[in-house]
């Protein structure tokens, strides 16, 4: 059974990746999850320097989902390389670094620094975080911005470049196309949906940042649709995510067109989810007689259903 896939020059042994911001720097999970068994580990979004993020409350639960406004608290790229990367290498994790910037130059600078560091497998460009005012999503919500960031980073690194798309746009597939044209090796989607919750007694927002990003099973049907649209638009590998919590969810994204997937919120609920998902994938491949898991990608059968019965 072959569960592997390629993203640019990078080979992942299976399609299961820990989603950025939902798995700390990976090291937090190292004693309960064998990191080398994951397809990859996308670490928390990193800027050039340290950031304290937003004050609490930073999360609030909503129906089948959660809002977060962490505000990209992080230790910055230098401390990451010094303090976290060595352990991640030792644990043989495939490290995908999620990078952020308030300016185009910052993305480029962070990418350059990480490209020189041993043990980084790929760069995921976070141009889609809804929780910071400057940078980020302003690139992700404009086609030219997306193109600009991707091509600028492309120029300074030989690592696979994976822009992460925001779902908060009218036509996500056009952003995938812009990324493809700018030389991306893959796209990942979706980041969280900009959302809000209010305490009706205090009449204050439940998050200190007023708005936050919605993740979890609630958003899965929208994310699947977006992956499907991107699959119909670009040839690039697609890393799909949004609400994955069971092996059927993984399969749904792959059948819709994702080559790999990330799991975020569900890892909070079940940090031992990874082996369950892997077992489930193997079982499905056995039951459905699928030798190469990548053969499943984009196989959704949309041949017209019995529309013909009606003349109207």
């Amino acid at each position: 059974m072959d569960l592997s896939l390629n993203i640019g020059s990078l080979r992942l042994k299976n399609p299961l990746i820990a989603a950025s911001g939902c798995f700390g720097y990976g090291v937090e999970y190292a004693d309960i999850v064998d990191l080398s068994t994951l397809g990859g580990v996308a670490v928390k979004g990193l800027f050039l320097s340290e950031r304290e993020g937003h004050p609490p409350p930073r999360i609030v639960e909503t129906p089948s989902g959660m809002l977060n406004a962490i505000g990209l608290q992080g230790i910055g790229v230098h401390r990451f390389i010094r303090e976290k990367l060595p352990e991640l290498r030792e644990r043989r994790a495939v490290v995908i670094v999620n990078i952020c910037g308030t300016t185009l130059d910052e993305y480029v600078e962070v990418a350059r620094i990480l490209s020189d560091a041993a043990g980084v497998a790929a760069l995921e460009l976070n141009i889609s975080c809804p929780n910071i005012k400057e940078g980020g999503i302003t690139f992700g919500c404009s086609l030219t911005g997306t193109h600009a960031v991707v091509s600028a980073v492309r120029k300074v690194t030989r690592l696979p470049v994976i822009p992460k798309l925001t779902p908060n746009v009218t036509d996500v597939a056009s952003f995938a196309r812009a990324a493809e044209e700018a030389g991306a090796d893959a796209v990942s989607l979706v980041n969280t949906f900009l959302a809000m919750a209010i305490d009706v007694r205090t009449r204050r927002p439940r998050l200190s940042n007023i708005v936050g990003g919605l993740s979890g099973p609630a958003i899965r049907p929208i994310a699947v649709r977006m992956v499907y649209e991107c699959r119909n638009t670009v040839k690039l590998p697609i890393i799909g995510m949004g609400g994955i919590a069971t092996v059927d969810d993984v399969l749904e994204f792959m059948i819709a067109g994702a080559n790999a997937v990330q799991v975020g919120t569900a890892n909070f609920v079940d940090p031992f989810i990874w082996s369950r998902l892997l077992d489930g994938l193997r079982r499905y491949m056995r039951d459905e007689k699928i030798a190469r898991l990548q053969d499943l990608v984009g196989t959704v059968d949309t041949t017209a259903r019995e529309q013909a019965w009606i003349s109207s």
Partner: protein, 283 residues
């Protein structure tokens, strides 16, 4: 400097509810069959509970380990939780029936460090903040540390398990806001007078858990009386493992600079003096 502790690897148990003792209309003690957690747990640690089997609620909820339950031979068999009904998840745990199965992940978090005699341990609990102290009292009892419990609640009906502490040799001081049992008013009043009466040469350490306002007041009392004070914080937690950065509190590092620090892995127990209390949301 923050104390260093080596964490025992947490385990996730699809645990069976062994019993549910309702103490009042809002409080219950839920017994959970989880030997692997019970045998590793240290005083003040917590578990992350799924409160239902489905998606509602989605996330786990953090609960202090209230008791280590032992079988007839004394081997750790399970843990109990002192649960207070405040929303959807705690309501489900209030209603849970014996035989139900709920995922329980733990033990988690930085435990209390019990002091040794001749130092005394003074525990200060407000409401459901009592939860982490029974395991601490046992550890203190084991090392023969003289121990007090200052325990406050709104009224007499909300003071639970006092005898359990007394059995462990803990001297208990009670306070209720309506005066229905113990001192009338907040528990910080008897605490303050006890602190004032205490010669500085006799060492003691405060351990505090309760509403934010109470912990803040205790931190101030500890500082003004020059006493060590640990608090156990209750921030909203998404994962309990350091993965999400939801549970942060503003705490000073060694150089005195405040940082957003994860209470699930760097806490829930903190030295009170490290916390920037004005930045802690009162809930």
């Amino acid at each position: 400097m923050a104390q260093v502790y080596t964490r025992d690897m947490p385990v996730d148990i699809d645990a069976t509810v062994m019993g549910n003792r309702r103490l009042s209309a809002d409080y219950n003690v839920l017994a959970i069959d989880a030997p692997e957690i019970a045998s590793r747990a240290r005083p003040g640690q917590f578990v992350m509970m799924k409160t239902s089997r489905g998606l509602d609620p989605l996330l786990r909820r953090p609960f202090s380990i209230f008791e280590i339950l032992r079988d007839d031979g004394g081997a750790p068999r399970g843990v109990s939780l002192l649960n207070k009904r405040v929303g959807g998840g705690t309501s489900l745990l209030y209603q849970a029936e014996s035989g139900a199965r709920l995922a329980c992940l733990g033990p988690l978090g930085r435990p209390f460090e019990p002091v040794d005699p001749p130092a005394e341990a003074w525990m200060v609990a407000g409401g459901v903040g009592l939860a982490p102290f029974l395991t601490l009292a046992e550890a203190l009892h084991a090392r023969a540390t003289p121990t007090m419990l200052f325990y406050g609640a709104r009224h007499a009906g909300e003071l639970y398990c006092v005898d359990r502490f007394e059995t462990l040799g803990v001297r208990v001081v009670l306070a209720t806001e309506d005066g229905s049992r113990g001192a009338h008013g907040r528990v910080t009043a008897p605490l303050e007078s006890a602190l004032s009466r205490r010669p500085l040469g006799e060492p003691l350490k405060l351990y505090v858990c309760g509403p934010t306002a109470m912990m803040r007041a205790c931190a101030a009392l500890a500082a003004s009386h020059g006493r060590a004070c640990d608090v156990s914080l209750e921030q909203v937690m998404g994962c309990g493992l350091g993965g999400c950065y939801s549970c942060v509190v503003l705490a000073r590092d060694d150089s005195g600079r405040p940082h957003h620090t994860r209470t699930c892995i760097d806490g829930p127990v903190f030295e009170a003096s490290r916390i920037v209390w004005d930045a802690v949301d009162a809930h």
